[in-house]
């Protein structure tokens, strides 16, 4: 045998193997998943303030208040007017509707799993559900209620006096207990976490179609959706400018003057996303196809774009797979019994 030929063949083989290995490593690394499947398991513990631990009485009181139009000055608007349980706790409109049917600045967000959020509103200006609850109540363009007057009204309704006494004994009917009760009810609005995606993550390999599985790989890999839409509720609860046509809405920058926050809004959840159109803080997109197209382009108004936003090359098939994955995040409808209000 010719030793030098043998050594050359072996050397060539090793070189080919090394190049192949390097190629595979680069290929795999470039689309490395940002998160593991297990990151989407519903393991997160909801943070609840010590002075407002959840009890059935508090949820019952909060539910009554939530559905009670007497909480508005007109006696015609309740929290449920915009956060309608029949429409997945939103209103199906491009922008919210306030007092006198006026159009509001931004879309109504869903309340599904809102108890896991620490910063509320699209711009995150309220810290905690208790801080948020009274803002629409008092807002002159929404429920326009005078709180002192509301307290007098509620105190004159024996049913409410009893509910408050059971839920917050010795605390009375106050601005604080009204807020705490509403927050308690909102904390009870949670997904069953039994969507096809959830069943797949829990181990049922047949729960997702092949297309949806490919869509998940894109979501967590090349398309980089999970950079912001992370965790069990598919939101990082953080603030990004994703290049929407914001008009003059500067988002979180109104409250924190740091350049990156100009036009930055909170990442919404993707749970039940097929049921909560229109999409974005301004309700700009009516379909998920339009949303995906927005990300393929890498945004529209790029004047202060988040550096994490980059165009994503997705073929038509990949876009269809991604859509099918998003569709797998919707739970079966959860009927809600509407309370009989106290008198």
């Amino acid at each position: 045998m010719n030793n030098s030929t043998h050594q050359t063949s072996t050397g060539n083989g090793l070189l080919v193997a090394a190049i192949t290995a390097l190629f595979l490593l680069a290929w795999g690394t470039s689309f490395t998943a940002l998160a593991a499947k297990a990151d989407y398991l519903p393991k997160q513990k909801m943070r609840i303030p010590k002075d407002n631990q959840l009890t059935p009485e508090r949820i019952e009181l909060g539910k009554a208040l939530f559905f009670d139009p007497r909480l508005s000055d007109s006696n015609r608007m309740s929290c449920a007017s915009c956060h309608n349980p029949s429409l997945y706790w939103t209103d199906g409109l491009r922008k919210g509707v306030g007092k006198g049917s006026q159009t509001l600045k931004r879309a109504t967000p869903t309340l599904v799993n809102v108890g896991y959020s620490r910063r509320l509103f699209w711009d995150g200006r309220a810290k905690g559900l208790e801080a948020q609850a009274l803002v629409p109540l008092k807002s002159t363009i929404e429920m326009n209620q005078n709180i002192a007057e509301l307290i007098r009204e509620l105190s004159a309704i024996p049913g409410y006096v009893e509910l408050f006494a059971k839920a917050y004994p010795d605390e009375g009917i106050t601005e604080l207990t009204i807020a705490k009760a509403l927050a308690s009810f909102e904390r009870s609005i949670v997904s069953p976490y039994d969507s096809p995606f959830d069943r797949w993550v829990a181990g049922d390999d047949k729960a997702l179609s092949a297309a949806a599985k490919r869509g998940f790989d894109l979501f967590d890999g090349k398309a980089r959706c999970s950079v912001c839409h992370s965790g069990q509720n598919f939101t990082d609860n953080s603030f990004h400018n994703i290049g929407l046509n914001n008009d003059d809405d500067i988002g979180r920058y109104e409250f924190i003057k740091v350049q990156v926050l100009k036009g930055a809004f909170k990442t919404p959840t993707l749970r039940d996303i097929t049921r909560t159109a229109p999409y974005m803080h301004n309700g700009e997109y009516q379909t998920l196809d339009q949303v995906i197209d927005h990300y393929v382009k890498g945004g529209v108004d790029k004047s202060n774009l988040s550096p994490d936003m980059k165009p994503v090359k997705l073929s038509r098939q990949e876009q269809a797979d991604l859509l099918e994955f998003l569709q797998s995040l919707t739970d079966e409808p959860q009927p809600v019994t509407v309370p009989v209000l106290p008198n």
Binding site: R119, N237, S238, F239, V258, Q259, V260, S306, P307
Partner: protein, 115 residues
């Protein structure tokens, strides 16, 4: 003349020693941004104490951008957005408390006490 030279040499030596000591006292500290958390030596931190003159290097270890800032009266700064692998320094030159956050990820919060 010799006395002056000697005194001069002693003075220079003292100056170098003192300044050298001062430089040796000012530390460089690394705080990592990882999993949308501030970490020091792989442990989550929410409050740390540093000495006046110390520099904290904010290193981004996450596969997405962070944007560290402070609007505290004592020390106001915006490090801007920077990617994984990059680090930006902040020197704490006045005593007091500085509240630091990531603008993008508001759960990332660090209180720095400068003494």
């Amino acid at each position: 003349m010799n006395k002056f030279v000697t005194a001069f040499i002693v003075m220079i030596t003292l100056l170098v020693t003192v300044s050298g000591s001062a430089m040796a006292l000012a530390k460089d500290i690394t705080v990592n941004q990882q999993n949308k958390t501030f970490l020091m030596d792989n442990v989550k931190v929410e409050a740390i104490t540093v000495n006046q003159g110390d520099t904290i290097h904010f290193m981004n270890n996450d596969p997405w951008f962070h944007n560290i800032f402070s609007l505290s009266d004592l020390k106001t700064f915006d490090l801007g957005s920077y990617p994984q692998g990059e680090s930006r320094p902040v020197t704490f030159d006045k005593k007091g408390v500085v509240e630091i956050e990531c603008a993008i990820h508001p759960n990332m919060h660090l209180e720095v006490t400068v003494k």
